[in-house]
């Protein structure tokens, strides 16, 4: 089998794996959120369906699919239909550039069905040299789902939700971009694989703590999670941009939200916590076991951040809208510019004194 067909087969397999993990992950994250929130509020939460509530999200999914799909008469049909798709697609697409394990050296080994392998297997769907930018670009598309959905419903609350979401995402994208610039300053590369490799050789970028904090805060805003969920603020806007969605269309907004949480957590881990890297352990010496171990460690780190997302949501109250804008433009943005300058100075000094 030639190299192109092999790459195609592996790519299809990897895409299937990533989408499957994301969709299954979403059901688990929703369950985790409900159980954790119940725990924090001294309730029990959903604990009956299939072994301690494990099947709850699947049952809810079936319920959502079987419900009547109401399309209100006053909506703009085309945008109303497209909005959930536009919301969902970027949530799944961003998973493509996240490396979830070390490269498996299978070149030259023959495998069943595929024959002799020609290239090592990179555990990442698309190893493009601008992976970081890809993530920023695709993540910024997600806002269209919210805006289109909010506008299409033709009512004040949804429109206000959509406006809030778009203003918020535009203002928080700037500090997020600057936090990513510090990462690029440290790694010297935009490729996710090289960022992980560089962290393995030197240090985890979380040591640049201000950049990490700025990125974490902005990623909360980008995923529209509390304390930044003004787009769907119940007390003021009913349910914000998805007020008049029903059935699986509503379900897709939900899927997109939790899908974004998973990919964002994975991105935080990749950029600041060494990705699949296990500290003080040489994974490549362990062979296949090392690969499995690294993948599990990556999963564990990602789960910790998903937990932090949930934890923050049920601990903090929501910002007021003017506070939200002040925090971004007057607080985080100047801080992130300072961080970029500081990191640049330190990197130059390090390069001059240690080489």
């Amino acid at each position: 089998m030639d190299i192109a067909t092999q790459n195609l087969i592996f790519s299809v397999l990897k895409v299937a794996l990533v989408i499957k993990v994301l969709l299954l992950g979403v059901t688990m994250v929703i369950l985790a959120e409900r159980r954790f929130s119940a725990f924090m509020q001294d309730r029990l939460g959903p604990n009956r369906t299939f072994y301690g509530g494990l099947g709850q999200s699947f049952a809810d999914g079936i319920k959502l699919i079987l419900k009547e799909d109401v399309i209100p008469t006053h909506v703009d049909k085309l945008t109303y239909m497209i909005a959930p798709i536009v919301m969902m697609t970027p949530a799944l697409m961003t998973g493509a550039v996240i490396p979830f394990g070390p490269t498996i050296p299978i070149a030259g080994i023959s495998l069943p069905f595929i024959g002799e392998n020609l290239t090592p297997l990179v555990l990442q769907v698309a190893d493009i040299n601008v992976g970081l930018l890809y993530f920023v670009a695709i993540a910024s598309i997600g806002v269209y789902g919210i805006v289109m959905g909010g506008w299409a419903q033709n009512n004040k609350y949804s429109l206000l939700g959509a406006l809030r979401a778009s203003a918020q995402m535009v203002s928080y994208e700037l500090p997020m971009g600057l936090a990513l610039v510090t990462v690029v300053l440290m790694s010297g590369s935009l490729s996710m694989n090289e960022i992980v490799a560089h962290q393995q050789e030197t240090f985890w970028y979380v040591l640049n703590f201000p950049a990490f904090m700025i990125f974490l805060i902005t990623i909360f805003a980008e995923t529209n999670r509390l304390p930044f969920d003004l787009a769907e603020c119940e007390q003021e806007l009913v349910a914000g941009y998805h007020t008049e969605y029903s059935s699986m269309k509503f379900g897709m907004f939900l899927l997109a939200e939790y899908g974004n949480i998973i990919t964002s957590s994975a991105l935080v881990v990749t950029l600041f916590f060494g990705g699949w890297d296990i500290p003080f352990v040489d994974e490549s010496a362990l062979g296949l076991f090392g690969v499995i171990l690294s993948m599990s460690v990556f999963g564990l780190k990602t789960s910790i951040f998903i937990f932090i997302f949930i934890w923050v949501r049920w601990s903090l109250p929501r910002f007021r809208y003017d506070q939200l804008m002040n925090v971004s433009w007057k607080g985080i943005l100047p801080l992130s510019i300072l961080t970029v300058v500081g990191t640049a100075v330190i990197m130059v000094l390090l390069k001059n004194f240690y080489h």
Binding site: T79, A137, I138, I141, Y144, W151, S166
Partner: protein, 164 residues
Amino acid sequence: MELVLFTIFAVLAIASALVVITQEKPIYSVLSLVVTLFSLAGIYVLLNAYFLAMIQIAVYAGAIMVLFLFVVMLLNLKDSYKIPNLKKLLGTVFGGAIALSVIFSFTKVGRALVPESEMPAGDAYNMGILLFTDYVFPFEIASILLLVATIGAIVFTKKQLKEN
């Protein structure tokens, strides 16, 4: 494979660009402009210009068009805006002139400046080297233009504040 992808992106770009100018609802125009920008990014990827493609999506589709959409939604124009005839005429003349000059420059340049095998990868490194060596002057001029625009916007808002 490349040809198929190119055809898809090219047709999509042209079709959505046509929708932008023929559509009466401003919000559809904005959304189809997003599709145009996206397909252009796809064509950039086919040309190996990954960096440019991602910047195209992040800056134009992701940030600028969101602001456009924001404005259109806030105004929420009910009736479609009728363009006066003089504007139509001027638009046709100047648009035609620009289109002609673009076509002319393409025929001058020919197919490609560099053979495909020698084409450098369009990543951030090569882009950066080009921007800070050969094209440093246009790059700085463009940044001054942006600065002027920013200052202009601030001046306008200040004026309005004083009048109020």
